[in-house]
Symmetry: C2
Subunit: 336 residues, 2 copies
DNA sequence: CTGAAAGCGCTTACAG
DNA sequence: CTGAAAGCGCTTACAG
């Protein structure tokens, strides 16, 4: 490859001058700059950003660590991240953990070695897999899921609110009282808050949530499926399900269908997170839709502020309200 | 940060020895290696991969350039890419072009500057935006879309076949003859092949495709919507639509719904690409489902072979057959 | 087995 | 305005 030295020699100046001319730094005569630029063009010079990164100690790269890019919620979030990052000249490395804290820890370490300027993390653990980060001073912004006792900025959805409104809707509009919840693991803030919102709504309605209604597992399709099967096969006759997230909802509906249980006629269902594109096609799931794209862009903006070293003292916590979209799975619009 | 020099000093050896001990190179006594490792641990040494990359001229990074990570087809492909790449110690930078060749060209240039070891590209142009690459000898594998007269390996779906079978199904099973096609731009190999497959099936059935049935535009939801509106409002009474891809299908169905045209009762519809997760929930679209995940993993494997410099003379072209999934939108299973 | 030295391709104080 | 020099943090022939 042609380097800055080749350009320098050809243009009859020093490498330092080439560097300055190319970077647009002031302190180079216009004539010299033009000559350097012309030679660079002629030689098809392309700067080596690795060398620049090493020298400047900045890679203009951020990492996005999530559980699964294939989950539409994260897909949309990732798109927001990429858009905003590239707008500012940053590239994004994507990491899928599949909800495995060991994979998460490994990615964190790898990203640190790669000298990313900052990390956006939706952690699948209580934060233990992020311990490496707390010993460093690399900027981090938590997205979607909070980690207790961390000092990092975060941008998350208001899960308690969403769960509360969704559950309340089942109670007040549809008269349901026996409502089950299929939740992600309680180490995750989203799960805890959703269980809380669910519980609050029930209690306000004078219903004490029964233990058999509460399934705590993972944010995976298969768990939604298994929990629903157990619920429907052995459990008491439950009238509705609150699915902890979209993939759990898919599993739940699949199980119900297999057992010949109709949604929403025999079993109402509400869920967190939506399926964007497809919801246009099949407006079926009643859901608390989080502004995933915005979460991504906001998180990047906050991260860039930290990367730039702007002196922001306090830890910032941005909480975004989900939009409650009433469709058919809860029992509304039964005619459409 | 602690560097190799810090470790060297503390361990009482030279930086070269530290490097060798850490990299597992042979030619270091076991005793020295242990001591170095212990010191590295003690000092929480973390290697700087940027420095290594500069020296070794290898970044262990690949770029994936696609039009939109938000399209489920690309989402799944991207997951395949990330899984396979990380399995081999490579990280992936994602780039969304939104079908804009200028954005594509800009990303290509940026990725080259970042010294990625190879690129996976689903080009949105006839290849002109890739011209920078042909002057370099960086490994490239084309995915999903071929570029004419390039010498790069590629892994694509068999679009002609998929389109042919889908169209034939409409003709033979459902007796449709007036079938429209809403296609992506003809600069793309996928579009061309799908139009060819569609045409072949019609011709074999003795039907001459009419000009008013053929819509050539972009792989975007809005184009599917606009084309379908025009088709239904002004056109002759068409009996079925072949949608060029999944997002076009979404737009088409939205338009039909707005105009009170029922799918499949009033208008049959088939499409390319599927919606994974959601198809479990709503098994509606009859589609040629491409093995997106496999396309991603295969493409990475081929790219890694090139990166490793394995001497493969010939250009390789892997063509994967889509799976034809018959569901309801074509008119089958009308009872379910 | 180990070290001194050069070099990967830039950037940037420091002089002039 | 321009250049010589040092340095970012590694790796790797080359000696010994």
């Amino acid at each position: 490859m042609t380097t800055i030295y080749d350009v320098a020699k050809r243009a009859g100046v020093s490498p330092a001058t080439v560097s300055r001319a190319l970077s647009g730094a002031r302190g180079v005569s216009e004539a010299t700059r033009q000559r350097v630029l012309a030679v660079a063009q002629e030689l098809q010079y392309s700067p080596n950003y690795i060398a620049r990164s090493l020298k400047k100690r900045q890679t203009n790269t951020i990492a996005l660590i999530i559980s699964d890019i294939t989950n539409p919620f994260f897909t949309t979030l990732a798109r927001g991240v990429e858009d905003k990052a590239s707008e500012h000249g940053f590239n994004t490395i994507f990491c899928n953990t599949d909800e495995d804290p060991r994979v998460e820890a490994a990615y964190v370490e790898l990203m640190l070695r790669r000298q990313v300027d900052g990390l956006l993390i939706s952690s699948c653990s209580d934060g233990r897999s992020l311990s490496l980060l707390s010993r460093r001073d690399v900027p981090v912004v938590l997205v979607d899921r909070k980690v207790k006792s961390s000092s990092w900025d975060c941008v998350v959805g208001d899960s308690e609110y969403g769960a509360y409104v969704l559950t309340k809707h089942l109670i007040e509009v549809h008269g349901k009282r026996k409502i089950a919840i299929i939740s992600g693991p309680l180490v995750l803030s989203t799960s805890r808050e959703r269980v809380e919102g669910y519980t609050r709504a029930l209690k306000e309605a004078g219903v004490t949530p029964r233990e058999e209604w509460i399934f705590i597992g993972t944010y995976k399709e298969d768990f939604g499926y298994q929990a629903t099967r157990r619920l429907l096969e052995y459990g008491p006759s439950v009238e509705a399900i609150f699915a902890g997230n979209n993939v759990i909802a898919v599993g739940a509906i699949r199980a119900a269908r297999e057992l010949g249980v109709r949604v929403p006629e025999d079993l109402a269902l509400v869920t967190f997170d939506d399926f964007d594109l497809v919801s246009t096609l099949f407006p079926f799931l009643t859901a608390a839709k989080q502004p995933a794209y915005t979460m991504g862009t906001l998180a990047v903006e906050m991260l860039l502020e930290r990367i730039r070293g702007e002196k922001i003292r306090e830890r910032r916590e941005v909480v975004l309200r989900p939009e409650i979209i009433i469709r058919r799975s809860c029992g509304c619009h039964a005619d459409s």
